[in-house]
């Protein structure tokens, strides 16, 4: 019924010894000898027994007797040979290794081969290929690096430009590994878990910074400079992967690091934190906030703070009076068309920023500096108050020149009598309208409200009433009129960079809410939330930190 095979019985047999290194060579033929091989694997057997010589008293020769024990078959039938050797000789065998011993042998061979191959690799010319996981980036290759390696570490391969180890073999590697900083036994390798900062390694100090020596390391309040390799990972192929936001978040997302930076920053003069500005660029400097810029930031759209200038509720300090709402309103027309942003704000040559505004380019088309309603061709110059005053004081001469130009234009000779008569006539009219020359001068400089200027049409009044229409005109200690300097910043955000060119698909007003802005003091920059409305994962994706900010040399704006 059962298909199972019966198990043989092994009653009274010897113990099985699977741990023995050697097996009797006859065992594989199923007849292992009683004695078995020696512990070193030699066959020691000659026969099945050692015959015993029995001598009866008085007997000379005696009889050889077989001594094979009963457990092994008892005395053999033929008995010993006459010379006393065993009658059942066992041919010597070649003991075999047990399976377990063969496994040990295989292990030994594998270990030897492994060690030999590795030693060969380390000692030979493949050492570099052996340990180099991948090519270094292109900038770190080439003859210059080979030379650097030679000079710096007497190394014949470029690895020596940065690494100390390739100079010697395994011994040096072990030595360097044991003395590495951070080393295998130091807790500093896990320091990250506590502070979030990978400190600079000796390799950074010995090699990276030795070349990249003019790199500033971020803000002065950084408590401990990070290892270069935190952000710049080498041996990743010819192109080194760019640092990413996670690198920034390592510190800016870590409360302990930010707290430490805040404490350190509080003892450093604020100007040390000023961002560098390219000469000639007008920059608006936002005061450094209390505690420094140590908000916790893990992502732009998550918890990047509002831009400092807005967050601190600052006002545009400019003295020029400008009302965006009116200019973009229905009342203002240029050549019959309403104004738009681009009428004044045009990109500069790079496209990144807006070009600087000027009176001549942006204001003059509407705001002519006419002061005589009858002769609109006459204008005061835009610029120095002294020039305006000089112009007004030479008014008779101006009228004469005007008449001369008119006559010349009409093809007549500019007769002196005609020009003088024209000047007298107009001077008289002007005196009648404005009173004295001083009064005219005062009116031109100080009038801000067009209604105060007599004789002007409503249209004209809207365009120019006097300098004070746009400027802040004050009386100096010398009792002279003086126009307060105008300050229109080229850059508002110095710690980050913005690129208008990348945002041309958006209208200006998407970000700059200027239609409601009636005051110069309004700073019409978009807030961080406006930016983050698009720059979030579900929008166009967040900007990388590095798109706006730089880590090392904070390049001039």
């Amino acid at each position: 019924m059962s298909d199972q095979l019966p198990s043989p019985e092994f009653d009274r047999s010897k113990y099985e010894r699977p741990d023995d290194a050697w097996i009797c060579g006859h065992a594989c033929e199923g007849k292992p000898c009683r004695l078995g091989p020696s512990k070193t694997g030699e066959c020691r057997v000659t026969g099945e027994c050692k015959p015993q010589l029995d001598k009866l008293p008085g007997e000379e020769k005696g009889r050889w007797r077989c001594t094979r024990p009963p457990a092994h078959g008892g005395p053999c039938a033929d008995g010993p040979r006459p010379d006393g050797t065993c009658g059942c000789p066992i041919p010597p065998c070649v003991p075999r290794r047990s399976l377990r011993r063969i496994r040990q042998l295989v292990s030994f061979i594998v270990v030897t081969l492994t060690a030999a191959l590795l030693l060969l690799g380390i000692a030979g010319t493949w050492r570099r290929q052996l340990v180099n996981p991948n090519a270094v980036s292109r900038p770190h290759q080439g003859a210059a690096f080979l030379e650097l390696a030679r000079v710096r570490r007497e190394s014949d391969n470029a690895c020596g430009a940065c690494h100390e180890s390739p100079r010697a073999g395994l011994r040096s590697w072990v030595h360097n590994a044991l003395h590495a900083s951070p080393g295998p036994f130091g807790r500093s390798q896990f320091q990250l878990l506590n502070a979030g900062v990978v400190p600079m390694t000796q390799l950074d100090r010995n090699s990276c910074v030795a070349c990249h020596n003019r790199h500033e390391f971020h803000q002065p309040s950084v408590v401990e400079a990070s290892s270069c390799s935190t952000c710049h990972v080498e041996h990743q192929g010819l192109k080194m992967p760019a640092p990413n936001d996670a690198n920034c978040a390592r510190c800016h997302g870590e409360p302990t690091v930010m707290a430490a930076a805040s404490i350190k920053g509080s003892s450093i003069p604020a100007e040390h934190f000023d961002a560098p500005v390219t000469a000639g660029v007008r920059a608006f400097r936002t005061p450094r906030p209390t505690g420094g810029r140590t908000n916790l930031i893990t992502g732009f759209w998550q918890n990047h703070p509002n831009f400092g200038v807005l967050a601190q509720g600052l006002k545009d300090p400019d003295t020029l009076r400008f009302n965006h709402a009116v200019h973009l309103g229905d009342t203002v027309r240029l050549n019959g068309q309403p104004l738009d942003c681009a009428r004044c704000h045009v990109p500069d040559a790079t496209g990144r920023y807006m070009a600087r505004l000027s009176y001549a380019q942006n204001c003059a088309p509407c705001h002519d500096l006419q002061f005589d309603p009858v002769n609109p061709e006459l204008r005061v110059p835009h610029g120095e108050v002294a020039a305006v005053r000089a112009k007004l004081r030479g008014l008779p001469l101006l009228y004469a020149e005007l008449k001369a130009r008119q006559l010349a234009a009409a093809g007549q000779a500019p007769a002196r009598e005609k020009t003088e008569a024209f000047a007298r006539e107009n001077m008289a009219r002007m005196r009648q309208t404005f009173g004295s020359g001083e009064q005219l001068e005062k009116l031109v400089l100080f009038t801000g409200d067009p209604r105060e200027q007599p004789g002007l049409s409503a249209e004209r009044r809207a365009h120019y009433a006097g300098c004070a229409y746009c400027h802040e005109v004050v009386t100096s200690r010398e009792q002279l009129a003086e126009i307060r300097p105008v300050f229109i910043p080229d850059r508002w955000l110095l710690n980050g960079r913005f690129n208008h060119a990348k945002h041309t698909q958006q209208s200006c007003e998407t970000c700059h809410q200027v239609r409601a802005s009636r005051l110069t003091a309004d700073i019409n920059l978009p807030s961080q939330t406006v930016c983050a409305a698009c720059h979030r994962p579900e929008g166009s994706g967040g900007p990388n930190c590095s798109e706006c900010h730089t880590y090392h040399l904070r390049t001039s704006n």
Partner: protein, 276 residues
Amino acid sequence: MGYFAKRRVIGVLLLLMASVAVVWGQLQLAPVMRQVGFLTGWALLAACVFLALYNLRKRLPFLPLGSSRTWLQLHAYVGYLSFVLFLAHTGWRWPVGWFDDVLALLFLSVALSGVFGLFWSRLIPLRLTARGGDVPYERIPIVRRQLADRAKSLALESVTATKTTTIVDFYSQHLVGFLGTSANFWRHLVESRAVLTRLQARIDDLNRFLNADQRRALAELAEIARQKDGLDYQHALQLSLRLWLFIHIPLTYSLVIFTVLHVVVVFSFSAGVPPF
């Protein structure tokens, strides 16, 4: 729930929890901590050291170092976990550079041979027991010799008893080689009984030409052949249970050497040495 089921459920649950912890930790730490590689590396090394210690435990049966079954359970589960740690350590991608390639290949070979070994160790005993005829591996040649001797004397006796050489011819043609050595390793591994079936068919065929005495002798020879086939089965399967260790253990030693060098290279090249 039986002890084994309970043990497996607890083991798998713990393994899953540990694996999730490793994966989660790696994913959380990796963006903010490049040195997460040190962490997973040391953890992997610790796991490997623990796995290798099982060998030491086996060499010290005389010390109360915990039972081998507990060790094997831990060995298996820590082995699985080490695979997760390995993935975490390599950053979920195949490593670059031939040294690391070989290291990874060695690890995978050891790990996969271990998984295979465990599977095999659970499967083969069931097959061995179902077939019966259990013999300690070292005694197989002895039993084989006994069977061969019995078959030989049966065949020779048949000549004197029946005055014909039919059986002895059959014996020398089909049985001598078969009984002389362990055969059909691969066939037995895949549970093929083709050889025995063919032999049986030949015996059945021969039976037609024999008288009652010869048939009795042939039936005995057939039984010997069946037992020899069972012995071969024992030999093949028991050998296979030993052979997988020929990969698992030697490569482990190789892996240890590579790992040590890997650690040396990592620290020697990644950090630099302060000036003296």
